[in-house]
Amino acid sequence: MYSDKVMDHFKNPRNVGEIENPSGVGEVGNPVCGDIMNIYLKIENNIVTDAKFRTFGCGAAIASSSMATELVKGKTLEEAWDLSNKAVAEALDGLPPVKMHCSVLAEEGIHKAINDYRKKQGLEPWVEKNPHAHEHVEGTCGL
């Protein structure tokens, strides 16, 4: 069902935990849907210097959190913002169609964390380019 990459990130999730005094936090998902992700970012000089997560969810949710936090580390904020759910899924060698919403959740978590940081900085939050994309993803809970 899952690729080896997904299983690796599920079984050995990178970046589990919290960052003390994070620059930005993104909380997404809903326990009713069976998925919650909390993404913590440390941002220094417009660079994501650290990223951590806590996730309640299935194998794909955990692997997506792990991969997404890996991918944003070392990136500029703009690059991190542009990380799409597809890029997360591809980095995991694909996700089953019904699990694509997990990668969407990871994208949203990163976005929320970035905008949380921007707000704290007194900056305008960035606007989702494609805010409804995930509504069309098969397997979304709908809540």
Binding site: M7, E18, G34, I36, F56, G57, P96
Partner: protein, 393 residues
């Protein structure tokens, strides 16, 4: 990985085919393969084998052999029973009563019939998953043409008061169907004493082959055919008989019902050891289903703050086969309708684990699971923002 020990605790999903059953089936593939409808000697042997199996099934249910019809499994039996009775009784009424916790083979069939103009009442259950006979009696109207209540639930293991429900159905002269797919071998069944008019079963739930089942239809009951065609099964279910499968079903049900009490004592002892062990080692759990009125091998327990699929993946990594009521495992969008019907909060239902023990499980299996499960739950909770929240808050 290849030589890893597998601990199979998903017997409610399916079972392996028992050796004696495989042996009984073996000659019917390549040697005694004649079509039971033909008249030459090898075909007559096939016919005899089918009739012997019919006798075995009938005996296990307290039915007459000519009340047993072979099908392709539990789903077909459920579909046949429900559509067959509904369509044959349209002039009498269009009301069907079932429950909220039926298997999808019943629920989706009823939902289909709703689109075709039938009206369906889905009886609620209590927090243990029990249907109330009083609720059933209240739901019956002049237009009620079928009642279908499962014998034992596949997820939470709750055993319904079938004889009581059957008596009410009988009193109101409404045909009574029960999906006994999970009950065979675990509960002594007597269709006459329990006033059952139709009963579904499936061989692969009691160490028989997959893809073969049976429907008991009380003599004289009006039921449309589901599969029309040749004259097999006394003209009620067409199709060349699944000869080897039917022989396997017969043998399997004979073995499964030979000593139900003995089987149950063994399984129940193992199950209770596992359940108590889990409850002693892991906090924040909820046992789903009824504390006593449940299938002997069934544990369905929710672990707060974690999600079932990731639990299963970790268990699989340890060679343990189990299942969950979490939506995430199946690709469906909703968590178990059964857990929902018992009133379990959605977020907790996502953390449910079903372990169903069977005849090959041992104390060593149980202790192995008890050894690894707490660590897995702890690891997932550590990762969970919900658990963090609770401990923090």
């Amino acid at each position: 990985m290849a030589d890893k020990r597998i601990i199979y605790m998903d017997h409610s999903a399916t079972t392996c085919v028992r050796k004696e059953v495989l042996e009984a089936m073996a000659p019917y593939h390549a040697e005694r393969f004649g079509n039971p409808s033909s008249i030459y000697s090898i075909a007559r042997e096939s016919k005899k084998a089918v009739e012997a199996a019919r006798g075995q099934v009938a005996k296990a249910l307290g039915a007459d052999p000519d009340e047993i019809y072979f099908t392709s499994g539990g789903s077909e039996s459920d579909n046949w029973a429900i559509k067959g009775v509904a369509l044959a009784n349209r002039q009498k009424g269009n009301h069907i009563i079932t429950t909220k916790i039926e298997h999808h083979a019943v629920l989706h069939t009823c939902q289909y019939l709703e689109k075709e103009g039938f009206r369906v009442t889905y009886l609620p259950v209590d927090r243990y998953g029990l249907v109330s006979p009083a609720d059933l009696e209240k739901a019956i109207t002049d237009t009620t043409i079928l009642i279908s209540v499962m014998y034992a639930n596949n997820e939470i293991g709750t055993i319904e008061p079938i004889a009581e429900l059957g008596a009410i159905a009988k009193k109101h002269k409404v045909p009574f169907h029960t999906d006994a797919v999970q009950a065979i071998g675990n509960i002594p069944i007597d269709v006459k004493a329990q006033d059952i008019d139709l009963l579904s079963l499936s061989a692969h739930k009691f160490y028989g082959p997959k893809g073969v089942g049976a429907l008991y239809i009380r003599k004289g009951l009006k039921v449309h055919n589901l599969i029309h065609g040749g004259g097999q099964e006394r003209r009620r279910r067409a199709g060349t008989e699944n000869l080897a499968g039917i022989v396997g079903l017969g043998k399997a049900i004979e073995l499964a019902t030979a000593d139900i009490e003995g089987h149950n004592q063994t399984i129940r002892a193992l199950r209770d050891r596992l359940l108590k062990g889990i409850q002693a080692r892991i906090s924040d759990t909820h046992l789903n289903g009824h504390p006593e009125k449940r299938l002997p091998g069934n544990i369905n327990i929710s672990f707060e703050f974690i999600e079932g699929e990731s639990l299963l993946l970790w268990l699989d990594d340890e060679g343990i086969c189990a299942s969950t009521g979490s939506a995430c495992s199946s690709g469906s969008l909703e968590p178990s309708h059964v857990l929902m019907a018992t009133g379990l909060p959605v977020e907790i239902s996502h953390g449910s684990l079903r372990l169903t023990l069977g005849d090959a499980n041992t104390v060593a299996d149980v202790d192995f699971v008890l050894g690894v499960l707490p660590g897995i739950v702890a690891k997932l909770r550590e990762m969970s923002p919900l658990y963090k929240g609770k401990k923090g808050g």
